[in-house]
C-alpha cells in the first residue's frame, strides 16, 4: 500500500461518507473538506451538486481541479452551470445536505467557536475571524462535520468560550428539536488523531475510530475534555490506492494535503 499523509486519510474518510446526489460545497481555505467533496464527486458522486466558490459546478471530464486561494476566485466559472444568487442562496442554505465547520475552539458537545475567547472584564483575550455562515448552516444543514487540522487540549475544550455554531449545546436531550432547528447537527468530528461521533444519549463526543498508529492514551492526553473511549474501538480505514490516485492526480496535484 502507498504511504499517505494524515490529511489525505482525513479527506478519504470524509469522502466515503458523502452520498451521490447530495449538495455539498467546497470552500477556499479549508483544504481537507475541499478534497473530500471533490474526491467523492469523482469516485462515486457524479450526481452531486458541488458548490465551488460562488458557482455550482459539474466536473465531468475535468482532469485536474485547481486549488483556490480565495472563495471569490471567479475562474471555476469555466466549469459552472449556475452562479450562486446572493444573498438568496444564503437563505437556500436550509436545502444543503452537508457542510464542514472548524473553529478556534471545539467543545465536548460539538459546539464550535469562531467568535473569540473571553479574557478579563468582558474583553477578548483572542478575537476570532467571525462566524461567516456557520451559525445558520449549523442550524439548518441536514448534517455537518467538524474538521480539525490539529488535535490539542487548547482546541478541544470542555466548553466553548462563545458558541458561534450550535452543536448539541449543553447536552440537554432534544435541545435542537426544542429550538425547532431543522438540521441534524454534527455527525462526526475528524482530527489528525481520530474520528469522534456523538453518544446518542449524552450527545458528548466519544471516539469512533482511531487513525492507524494512534493510541487511546494519546487521544486522552491531547483532548481538553474527558473523552469516552469504547472498549472495542475501530481503526480508521486508511486510503485505498484508487482513492489516493484520484486524490493526487485530479483533486490535489499541488500536494496541499501532503504538506
Amino acid at each position: 500500500m502507498t504511504d499517505y499523509s494524515v490529511k489525505e486519510l482525513m479527506a478519504c474518510w470524509l469522502a466515503r461518507d458523502l452520498v451521490d446526489g447530495e449538495f455539498a460545497a467546497v470552500g477556499a481555505n479549508f483544504p481537507i473538506p475541499r478534497a473530500a467533496v471533490l474526491l467523492a464527486h469523482f469516485t462515486h458522486g457524479p450526481n452531486m451538486t458541488v458548490g465551488m466558490g460562488a458557482f455550482k459546478v459539474c466536473l465531468d471530464n475535468v482532469d485536474q481541479v485547481m486549488t483556490l486561494k480565495y472563495f471569490t476566485d471567479f475562474r471555476p466559472m469555466r466549469w459552472a452551470e449556475s452562479a450562486s444568487y446572493f444573498p438568496l442562496d444564503l437563505f437556500g442554505f436550509h436545502k444543503m445536505d452537508v457542510f464542514y465547520v472548524s473553529g478556534i475552539q471545539i467543545d465536548a458537545y460539538g459546539n464550535t467557536n469562531l467568535i473569540g475567547i473571553a479574557g478579563e472584564g468582558g474583553q477578548y483575550k483572542f478575537r476570532g475571524p467571525g462566524s461567516i455562515g456557520t451559525t445558520t448552516l449549523a442550524a439548518v444543514a441536514r448534517r455537518y462535520y467538524i474538521v480539525a487540522e490539529h488535535h490539542t487540549p487548547r482546541l478541544f475544550v470542555e466548553k466553548c468560550s462563545k458558541i458561534s455554531a450550535l452543536g448539541f449545546g449543553d447536552g440537554t436531550p432534544g435541545l435542537r428539536k426544542k429550538l425547532c432547528l431543522p438540521g441534524g447537527g454534527p455527525k462526526y468530528c475528524i482530527t489528525p488523531l481520530c474520528v469522534f461521533d456523538f453518544h446518542p444519549e449524552t450527545s458528548r463526543m466519544r471516539v469512533h475510530s482511531l487513525h492507524p498508529g494512534v493510541s487511546p492514551e494519546q487521544v486522552v492526553a491531547d483532548t481538553g475534555f474527558e473523552v469516552e473511549i469504547p472498549a472495542k474501538v475501530m481503526e480508521t480505514k486508511p486510503p485505498t490506492d484508487v482513492e489516493l490516485s484520484v486524490l493526487r492526480n485530479r483533486v490535489d496535484p499541488e500536494g496541499a494535503l501532503r504538506t
Binding site: Y70, A83, F86, T136, I163
Partner: protein
C-alpha cells in the same frame, strides 16, 4: 430640460460621506470592493463610522479600522483567507475594545438588510438560537412566531446612509451592470438611502438598454475607476492581487505587534501620497495590474 448625468469625480463622491455615518460596503470577502472610495475615506481619516461589511468582509474593513475610521462594525468575517485568516487591525481593535462589534453571521446581516430594504421592523432567522450571538448582540431578540409558535430570532432593520459598491460598468444615468456575481450589492443598494458605485467603465445608454435585465440597480452616484477593486478581484476582469494582500497583511500584523515601519511605508505609498485613484494605480504599476487579468 435635459436629463442629468450622475457621474462625479472621486472627491465629490467622498464629500457625501461624513463622520458618524452608517455605510454599507458591497462585494464579498476578497471580491468587488470600491477601493478608490474606501482608500479615500482612510486617507481623509473619517471618524466614527458604522461599517457594514456585507456579507463577509476582507481587509478593506481592516484598513478602515487601522486608520481609526470605525466605531461600530457589522460583518460576519474580516480577513483574507490564505493571505490573512483574521484582519490584524480588526483583531487588535476587537481585543482592546476600540470598536463595537454587532455580532452576526452572513445570514443575519442579510436578514437585517432585507428588513431595511422591505421597510419592515425585522426579519426572522433560525440560526443563532442556542449560540452566543443573542447574548453578544442585544439587537437580536428571541421571540415565538405567531403561526407555529416556534422560537426564532428577530433581526431588526437598520438605517443605512450610503451603500458603496464596485461594478463592471454603468451608463451616465447610474444604471449599473455586472459581468459576474453582484453578491449582495443590489440588496445593500435597496437598503441604503443613497448608493455610490465605482465602475470599471462608463458605457453608452444603448449598451445598457441592450440587456436591461442585466441592470442590477440604479445608483445615485457613479465614479469611473478602472481597476477600482484592486487589490481585490472584479469578476471576469481581474483576480485578487495575492502579493499585495500579503504585503498589507504582513505590514498590518507587524504594526499591531509594535513595529510600525512597514505599515507607515504602506500608508504613505498607497493611501496618503496618491492624490487620486489613478495615482494609486501608478504606484501599483502596469506590470502588476496587467498580470492579474490573465486566466
Amino acid at each position: 430640460m435635459e436629463r442629468k448625468s450622475v457621474i462625479v469625480d472621486e472627491a465629490a463622491a467622498l464629500d457625501k460621506i461624513q463622520d458618524g455615518m452608517t455605510i454599507a460596503l458591497g462585494g464579498f470577502i476578497t471580491a468587488q470592493h470600491a477601493m478608490g472610495i474606501i482608500r479615500g475615506l482612510a486617507g481623509r481619516r473619517i471618524k466614527g463610522l458604522t461599517v457594514i461589511g456585507s456579507l463577509s468582509a476582507s481587509l478593506e474593513v481592516d484598513l478602515l479600522v487601522g486608520c481609526g475610521c470605525v466605531r461600530r462594525l457589522i460583518s460576519a468575517y474580516v480577513g483574507a483567507e490564505a493571505a490573512a485568516p483574521i484582519g490584524p487591525f480588526f483583531k487588535k481593535a476587537a481585543e482592546s475594545g476600540q470598536i463595537d462589534i454587532w455580532e452576526c453571521d452572513e445570514i443575519i446581516i442579510a436578514a437585517m438588510l432585507h428588513a431595511t430594504a422591505a421597510g419592515v421592523p425585522f426579519f426572522p432567522v433560525r440560526g443563532g438560537l442556542g449560540t452566543a450571538l443573542p447574548e453578544l448582540n442585544k439587537d437580536l431578540k428571541e421571540f415565538r412566531d405567531p403561526i407555529h409558535n416556534e422560537p426564532l430570532l428577530a433581526v431588526p432593520a437598520m438605517p443605512i446612509h450610503v451603500a458603496i459598491t464596485h461594478a463592471n460598468c454603468a451608463d451616465r444615468y447610474g444604471n449599473v451592470q455586472y459581468t459576474g456575481n453582484a453578491f449582495a450589492d443590489g440588496l445593500i443598494h435597496r437598503a441604503a438611502d443613497t448608493t455610490i458605485t465605482t465602475v470599471e467603465r462608463i458605457v453608452s445608454p444603448e449598451e445598457i438598454r441592450r440587456d436591461p435585465f442585466k441592470t442590477a440597480y440604479n445608483a445615485q452616484t457613479i465614479v469611473r475607476m478602472p481597476y477600482g477593486s484592486h487589490p481585490y478581484s472584479c469578476h471576469g476582469l481581474y483576480v485578487e492581487d495575492h502579493d499585495h494582500l500579503t504585503q498589507y497583511a504582513t505590514a498590518a500584523y507587524m504594526s499591531t505587534k509594535g513595529d510600525h515601519s512597514a505599515w507607515d511605508e504602506y500608508l504613505k505609498r498607497f493611501i496618503d501620497t496618491p492624490e487620486d485613484h489613478l495615482a494609486y494605480l501608478e504606484q501599483v504599476g502596469v506590470r502588476t495590474l496587467f498580470s492579474l487579468n490573465e486566466f
